[in-house]
Each structure stands twice: as structure tokens, then as C-alpha cells.
């Protein structure tokens, strides 16, 4: 392992170091803000190192092969950067979430710091997954994400101020995800084993070189890839492997939901792009057809499921199923540089928007939780109007908290793919990709899905502008969210609008890869 190789995996090293430091720090000195600081510093350093590594990649060495296991290139670094930024946002959301739920001075003394360790671990897994060029690292990365996600999903259990209902739901989501994810991992492993038995190699380049010698239609190989794809489809919650998504999203602490919806999917997409490209799986029509079918099913089923949903977290879960379906449309022509660009752009759009939506939901719920703690609000909501996760709660929000509602409206419009937002440019990419690949059936799916999607996005949006039973002008019904949360929303909304109106900025960044 040369110095250059070590340099190449600098982001991973920094993350690992951060984890170790945080572990030590926590064992000596418990402190919520301190943990947050270490986490954010680690993330920032890792991001910086990404730029640094990218800077050294210029010219002849467009990628660094780190032993046989990892490969560092521009695309991977870009993904890494995006995911680290996401993690940054999630750590802020997490801070606001945990602040209200964990009371170290309480009777049982619940501590929030482990959440950050788990977050960094998940990020380490995600980055490993993106850099992986070998099934061992793929498996390692994937499992790192999953293993740290299980406790994160169930993290409400440790907060002794969390409402009882929230704890139970959190537990339920963790167990559900654990069992299903374990099965999917097993299936994926089985697939890898089949690929290995067909090709005799575990590194992607090796497999690629072997399968050209093998007959293309080796059943063993194809079955292996299919099983692996199923496992990945599970992580992406593509139909028909989507069924866990709403339950897990709903039950999990909102920052974790955001994590699973963004990093969990982004890393897998990043890996999938590399995997398909190296193995040249784009030439396999069967796989593409399979993906297309899954994509169409996802677009339709996801949006149909969301149609009458009143719980916002479930609604976003269903909508994310649809969105991954759109993403796959771009992914199918991912072989061309344009396809890659489209996938990345859509992913960035998806991440910004999803993050923003969950941030809004999480922060609104936190503000309610704060009131509960002060005794101003009933702990167990009697009606939907009092439940911050229900649509009815958002009634007339625009008149109560215009800025918050404005941000949420921007997120929703972006999800619906309306111009001036990044979601529109993303959808434009999908359409362009679809036209370029002449995939008319898929495009029809996108159109129908979008039309269905409009209904529930708009219904939510218009709920926020309802004028009946709006409290008086003196902002009694205003939702007060934390300053850090406001800042986060502001940044996300700005990014959403800037990249929506001047997409060239982001395109340039992507194409600088």
C-alpha cells in the first residue's frame, strides 16, 4: 500500500479517525455539543480531503486503485462529497432532535452522543461502498451502513423524554428493517457467491475480464447478478421490494429517516453506476428490462400509494419510491456520460429536496415536542390537527409561519418537479434521458406518475394555504423552530432555488468530474 494509495482513501481515514476520537471523547467526557462539534469537524475535514484528493487526480491519473479493494475517482469523490454534506445536515437535524429527547440528568440518564458515532459509522460505510471495487468492500460498506442504521432507527428508545408512542414506533421500525434488511443482505451475498462461482473473481475488473471469456448468457452469472440486483433494489426500495419503506420511515426518528432516504440510497446508486459500468451490464438487455419494469412499477405504485396518505412521513416515503423510479429511468442510459450526469443531477435534486422536507417535518415535530415538554401541549395528540406528523397539522401554516411554510412549499414543488426548483431540472434530465434512450413506455410512466404525484403534493401544499380557522394576526399558531434548523432550511432552500434557476452551476461541477 503506497503513500499515494493511502492518500487516495484520505476521506475514509479521516472518518475512521473521527469515529475513534469521538468514541474516546465520549467515554471520557459526555457532552452533546462536544460530540456534535467533533462530528461536524470530522465531516468538514473529510469533505476538504475530498477536494484535496480530487485535486491530485488531475491529468494522467484519473483514478487511484487502492489495493484491489477500493478505487478512487472523480465520480466517487463527488458522491462522497454530496453524502458528507448530507451527513452534515443530518447531524444538525439530529442535534435538534436529540436535544429535546435525551436528558443526561434524568433518572435513567439517556445520552445522545452515540448517535453521532453511528452517523459517522454509516458515513464510513457509505463512502466505502462508493469507493468499492471489490465485493468484499461492497459488502463491508453495505453492512456498515445497515448495522449503524439499526440502532439509529431505534434510537428513540434511549431518549427518556421521548413520548412512549414514539419509542414503540421506533423499535418497530428498527426490528422490521433489521429482519428484512438481513434477508436482503443474505440474498445479495448469495448472488455475489453465485457470481463468484461463475467467474472466479470478486473484484469488478476481474469479473469483467472473466465474463467476456465466459459465455455472456451464463445462467449462474445472470442469476447471481439478479439476486444482487434484488438486494440493491431492496435498499433503493424499488417495487416490489418497497414494502418496508413507509413503516421504517414513519417509525424512525426523523433525522434517521432523512439519512436512510438520502445517504442510504445515494451510496447505493453511486455503487450501482460504477458496478454497471465496469461490468458493462448495460449491454445486458434482460437486466435493463428488469430495471425498467421495476422503475415503472415504482413510479405507479409509489405515487398511487401516496395518493390519499395523511401521514406526511409515510407520504414522503411513498413519494420517494416514485422518485427512485424516475431516477432509474435516467440510470438505464447511464452508460453514456449524459446518463451519468442525469443520474447524478437527479440524485442531487432528490437529496436536497428530501433532506429539506424531512428537515421541515423533523423541526416542526421538535417544536411541538418542546411545547410538550413545557406542558403547553398534550403529550398524546388527540386529533390529527395536533399531531405534527399529520397533514391536518399543517393547515394554514403559511399564514402562521410564512418562512417555514415557504421553504416546505419550495420542497414540495421541487418534489412535484415544478420550474424554479431543482426538482424540475432533475425531471428535465429524466425526460431528456428517456428521449435519448427512446424509452417511451418509461416516459409514459413518468408522466402518469408525475400527474398522480401532483395530486398529493398539491393537496399538502394547499393545506398550508387554507385560510379557514387561521389564528389571529398575532402569530399564536406560529411554529417556532430552532435557529440552527432555520439556517439549515434556508441553505437547502437557497440551493434548491439556485440550482433550479441556474442549473449550469451544478452541471459544471458534475462535468468537472
Amino acid at each position: 500500500m503506497s503513500a499515494q494509495e493511502l492518500f487516495g482513501i484520505l476521506p475514509l481515514l479521516i472518518l475512521s479517525a473521527g469515529i475513534v476520537i469521538l468514541l474516546l471523547q465520549v467515554s471520557f467526557w459526555r457532552g452533546h455539543l462536544g460530540a456534535l462539534a467533533t462530528t461536524t469537524i470530522t465531516l468538514v475535514l473529510a469533505m476538504t480531503s475530498c477536494f484535496w484528493v480530487a485535486g491530485s487526480l488531475s491529468g494522467a491519473t484519473s483514478s487511484i486503485q487502492v489495493t484491489g479493494l477500493l478505487q478512487v475517482d472523480y465520480t466517487a469523490l463527488f458522491f462522497c462529497l454530496i453524502l458528507l454534506l448530507t451527513a452534515f445536515a443530518i447531524s444538525i437535524m439530529g442535534y435538534n432532535y436529540l436535544r429535546l429527547r435525551c436528558d443526561p440528568k434524568g433518572i435513567s440518564g439517556s445520552y445522545p452522543e452515540e448517535y453521532y458515532i453511528l452517523l459517522l459509522l454509516a458515513m464510513l460505510g457509505a463512502c466505502t461502498l462508493i469507493f468499492s471495487s471489490h465485493f468484499a468492500t461492497f459488502f463491508l460498506g453495505l453492512e456498515l451502513i445497515s448495522l449503524s442504521l439499526y440502532p439509529m432507527l431505534g434510537f428513540s428508545l434511549t431518549g427518556d423524554l421521548s413520548p412512549k408512542r414514539e419509542k414503540l414506533q421506533s423499535l418497530e421500525s428498527a426490528i422490521k428493517y433489521l429482519i428484512l434488511s438481513a434477508l436482503s443482505t443474505a440474498l445479495g451475498l448469495f448472488g455475489i457467491a453465485l457470481i463468484y462461482s461463475a467467474s472466479g473473481a470478486l473484484d469488478f475488473v476481474g469479473i469483467a475480464s472473466r465474463i467476456t471469456e465466459l459465455s455472456q448468457t451464463s445462467t449462474l452469472f445472470a442469476t447471481g447478478v439478479t439476486l444482487l440486483l434484488i438486494s440493491i433494489a431492496f435498499k433503493l426500495s424499488l417495487v416490489p421490494f418497497h414494502i418496508w419503506t413507509p413503516d421504517v420511515y414513519q417509525g424512525a426518528p426523523t433525522p434517521t429517516t432523512a439519512l436512510i432516504a438520502t445517504v442510504g440510497k445515494g451510496a447505493v446508486i453511486g455503487f450501482l453506476l460504477r458496478f454497471f459500468n465496469i461490468l458493462d451490464l448495460y449491454s445486458s438487455q434482460v437486466l435493463l428490462d428488469m430495471l425498467s419494469i421495476a422503475a415503472i412499477a415504482s413510479m405507479l405504485v409509489g405515487n398511487l400509494l401516496a395518493l390519499m396518505q395523511t401521514n406526511i412521513k409515510r407520504l414522503l416515503a411513498y413519494s420517494s419510491i416514485g422518485h427512485i423510479g424516475y431516477l432509474i429511468v435516467a440510470f438505464i442510459i447511464g452508460k453514456s456520460t449524459f446518463g451519468t450526469e442525469a443520474v447524478i443531477y437527479y440524485l442531487v435534486a432528490y437529496i436536497i429536496t428530501t433532506l429539506g422536507s424531512f428537515a421541515v417535518i423533523g423541526l416542526v415535530a421538535d417544536s411541538v415536542e418542546e411545547k410538550v415538554l413545557k406542558g403547553e401541549y398534550p403529550e398524546s395528540p388527540l386529533s390529527d390537527v395536533q399531531n405534527p406528523y399529520q397533514r391536518a397539522f399543517y393547515r394554514g401554516l403559511l399564514w402562521r409561519s410564512p418562512w417555514l411554510a415557504g421553504c416546505f412549499a419550495a420542497m414540495l414543488l421541487s418534489l412535484a418537479g415544478i420550474p424554479l426548483t431543482i426538482g424540475f431540472i432533475g425531471k428535465f434530465y429524466v425526460f431528456t434521458a428517456g428521449v435519448e434512450g427512446q424509452m417511451w413506455v418509461l416516459l409514459a410512466g413518468v408522466v402518469i406518475g408525475s400527474a398522480l404525484g401532483l395530486f398529493y403534493y398539491l393537496r399538502l401544499l394547499l393545506t398550508m394555504v387554507q385560510r379557514d380557522n387561521v389564528p389571529d394576526i398575532n402569530n399564536t399558531g406560529a411554529v417556532q423552530i430552532a435557529t440552527s434548523g432555520q439556517l439549515l432550511l434556508l441553505i437547502l432552500t437557497t440551493a434548491l432555488l439556485v440550482f433550479g434557476i441556474f442549473p449550469q452551476i451544478l452541471i459544471n461541477w458534475i462535468n468537472a468530474l
Binding site: 426490528i175 428484512l180 442469476t223 416490489p240
Partner: protein, 612 residues
Amino acid sequence: MQGLLAWVPLLPLIGFLILVAIPLFHRSEPPQKFVACIGVGSVGLAALLTMIVAFTLFWKTPSELVNISLWQWMLVDNLQVGFNFHIDWLTIVMLLIITGVGFLIHLYSVGYMRDDMDFRRYFAYLNLFVCAMLILVLADNLVLLYLGWEGVGLCSYLLIGFWYKEPANGTAAQKAFIVTRIGDTAMAIGLFLLFYEFSTLNIQQLISVIDGQEVNTEIITLACLLLLGGAVGKSAQLPLQTWLPDAMAGPTPVSALIHAATMVTAGVYLIARMHPLYMLSEVAMNAVAFVGATTLLISGFSAIAQSDIKRVLAYSTISQIGYMFLALGVGAWSGAIFHLMTHAFFKALLFLSAGSVILSLHHEQNIFSMGGLYRKIPLTFICFTIGCACLAALPFTSGFYSKDHILLSAWEYHQGVNILWLAGILGALVTGVYSFRLLFLVFLGKEGTASTHCKDANTPVMSIPLCILAALALFGGLLAPPLQAVFGVRPDEDHSAWIEGVAIAMPLIGLAIAWRLFLHEQKSGEQRSPLMQFWFSGWGFDWLYGHLLVRPFKYLSQINHNDIIDSLYKGTAAVSRQMNALLSASQNGQVRWYLTSFAVGSILFLALLVAL
């Protein structure tokens, strides 16, 4: 000098605008005198102007055409429509009738409408009508003519429904507008056809185009029939005659001006104006003649059965216009116009007299409650008698000359006894019957229930027009309009005396029948024999159209008033909701079910792998 004619339609328009704009500057209603000055004065000035121009033109060579170009209206591709007036003797005759009779009726209205709240609105509408009617006859192209055509239709609508508080009036007004619109639509299609074929809608150009070349007779026939559709609608001829009797809901002077003297004869004018076109098509000519002949008989018989004084006159108007159509159909162009003119005089006279009767009887219109009025309102009686005499074409009245002309032309046209002529003759008999029936029932005989309250309502502003019109009706026959330049000269033929004799005899027989039947009829207007009931209802046309067109249309639009197409989308939405419910049921929260779905999904994918 002729350029002044452009002012003729403009003056009533200015009057209209002033009357309409008053509320913008003035909170309360202006005094009646002011309104009357504007309303009557503008038309009076227009009449004066027309007479001066006509007088000067009379001494010039008759063939001289005058065009007045105001501005280019539409110029798109080869569609060239100018806002231009074309003036020949036909126009001038029409102008004289419209402004002259119009002025008299305006004047009469000042008296008739003196107690009405909406005095100003009335004169505004009336002025607008005169303007539109003038544009109709002045237009040098069919589009501008159509403008006037629709304009008079609108004013007719407004004036029929003038007393808007009574819903029946509104219904009558709507009926009038919509029925004529059906005709107008046919006419519009006719215009499209003409433009398609000849690339121009200018009347003179059209005429010169068809003069010069071989033309497709079928197209011409079709175009003529479509134009006839418009004429039929506006002139209340079969099959679109049903609106006119109902149109009597308007104030009586309106009926005199619009539904007797001017607007309803626009169809006659149109066909006369387009006569070179019609002459090319035998079919169209026959159609016009038969429409006229049938109408004049049907409505003549209907007039016999009516009990409302104005409805009698309305049916008689339809019948008289039928005569004009008959004349047009047999090529007696100038005869038609001549009858148009005399009809304008005597029918206006009749309506205005009827108006006096109605006003004197406090808006009683049922002739069976009248009777014996000759003593109470003698001037009206005299005028009405003159009118009836003209209508029935008693010898030496103006009606006699014009109707005689028509009957002779019908005779000539087929060189002998023919169905058209017979219809005309029979019509003359019927005319005699119903006109004198009316006279006897209203003015002679026993006093009816309403007659007892009779109080002469004539004021000088009403009497003077009545007298002038009476004079015109009596002596108008001497004023044969100089239309040779327009229609060409027809050689006079000698007719055997018996034809003339029949023509003279028929009205007299009618008079006798009326004398015999109606002078001492019991006042039992309510009980009618089935035949009379059939005639009373206008030969059941209203019933027929009601069941054939109106009701099905209303039914169709009512059952579809929620828009059946929308249910398509509502259905889609419902299906989506159903599928949502179905899919939501799959999210049942059971881990083992989730595991099963995962397994099934995997198997599906593997099956896909095998299948693809």
C-alpha cells in the same frame, strides 16, 4: 352632395349615443322633452337629409351609381371588406321609407310612451334600430349588410322585451332573436359560400363577376337558398315565421316600425338586392315564390282566427310579406319593393291606430272585448278604416296598386292560370276577410266590456303622424318608385280584363264575407271550432317546433348539464383512489407478510430472468 348620405345613419347613432351616455354625466333621468328632442330630432334630421338628397338625385341621370367609402373594414388576404355605402334608387327608396316612416313613428312614440319610466331607453333603442336599418340598406357588401341585419335583430330583441318585468315578453324577445338567428346562420354560410366561390363579398363586384362568366348554377342555387334562409328568418316567412306573432309583446309603435314597416321587409330587400344572382337559378326563384305563396295563405288564415288586435296585424304582416316574396319569386322586383313601400305606409298606419285603440282602452288588446268604438275615437276609426282598405287592397288605395302589380306579374310569369296566381287571389280574398273582420269587431257592432272605459288617448303628437300616414296610405300608390335603373325595364303586357276584375273583386267578396260573418258575431272568443283553433295556433308550428327542436334540445342539455366528459376524469380519479385503497391494504404492517412479498418479488424477478 351625396356624401351627405353618410350622415343619414350617423345621426340616429349620435342620438343613440347621447341617450345612452346620459347616466354617465347625470344622476337623475333627463326630462322627457330633452329625450324626445334628441330621439325624434336625430331621425327627423336624417329624414330631411334623405329627402334633400333624393330630390337632387331625382333630376340626375337615373343610372348613376354612388359609392361612399368610409374606411377599410377588413383586409386580410383576399378578403376585402370596406365600410362602404352603395347608393342607387333601391337604396334611396328604402332610405326614404325608413327615415320617413321611422320619423313619424318616433313622433307618435313620444305620445304613446309618455307615461313610461324608461322613456330614454326606449328612444335609445329606437334610434339604434334606425341606424342599423339604414346601414343594412346602404351597405355595398354583404358583410356590412349582415352588420345591419344583426343590428336590427338585436334592437328588435331589445324592443320586444322592452317591458322586461313580464317574463313572457322576454321569452318572446328571445324567440324572435333566436329564430331569426337560425336564418342568419344560414345566410352567413351563404356568405362563406359566395366568398369561397367568387372571392368577394362586394355586391356590385359579385354581380359583375357572375355577369361575365360561366358560373356553376348549383353553387349559385345553394348560395341563393342559404340567403333565402336569412331572408325567411328576418321576414318571418315559412318555416321561420313563428316569432313574429309573439313579437307583438313589444310596445305598439315598435311593432309598427320594426315588425311591420322596416325590419321584417329586410328579407325582401336582400333578395331584391341580390336579384341578379337569383335570376340565374330557376330553383331558387321558385323556392322564393313558393315560400311566399304558402306563407301568405297560412298566415292569412291564421289572421282570421286571432283574438288579439296586434296578433291579427302580425299575421297580416307575415301574409303581406308573403306577397312580396311571391313577387320576388316571379321576378317582379320592383313590384315587391313597391308593395314593400305601400305596406310600410298602411301597416304602420294600422299599427299606430291599433296603438291608439290600445292606449285608449288602457292596454286592452282582445278584440272580443272591443266593439262600437267608432264613436268614441273617431280619428282613430278613420285612420284604421283607411288602413284596412289599403290592406285589403280596395280599389284606388295604395295597396291596390301594388298588390295588383304582383298578381299580374304572377299571372305573366307562367303565362296563365297557375298555382302562384291562384294563391295570390285566394290570399286577396282572405285578406279582405280578416282585415274587415278586425275593423268590424273593433269599431262597429256592440260595445264590448272594455269599450265602456274607452277614453281617447290621442294627443297631437300622435294624431299628426296618423294623419300623414293615412294620406300616404291612400295616395302612396301614385308614388311608384323609379327602380328601372336597378331592376331593368319590363315590357308592359296587356291583360285581359277579367284578371283585373278578379283582383278587384276578391277583396270586395272578402268584405262581404266579413260583413256577413263578423259584424254581429257573438262575443265568444274563447270557444273556437277545431279548425279555428288550428288557425289560431298558427297552424301548429309552435307546437311542432316545440316538440321537434326545443324540447329535445333542452332535454339533451339538461341531462348533460354536469358534462359527461368530466365523468371520464372523475372516473379516473375514482379508479386511482380504488387502487390506492387496494395497495394501502398491502401495507398491513405484518413483517411476515412483508417477508412473503419480498420472497414473491424475488421469485418474480428470477422468473423474469428466465422469461426475458
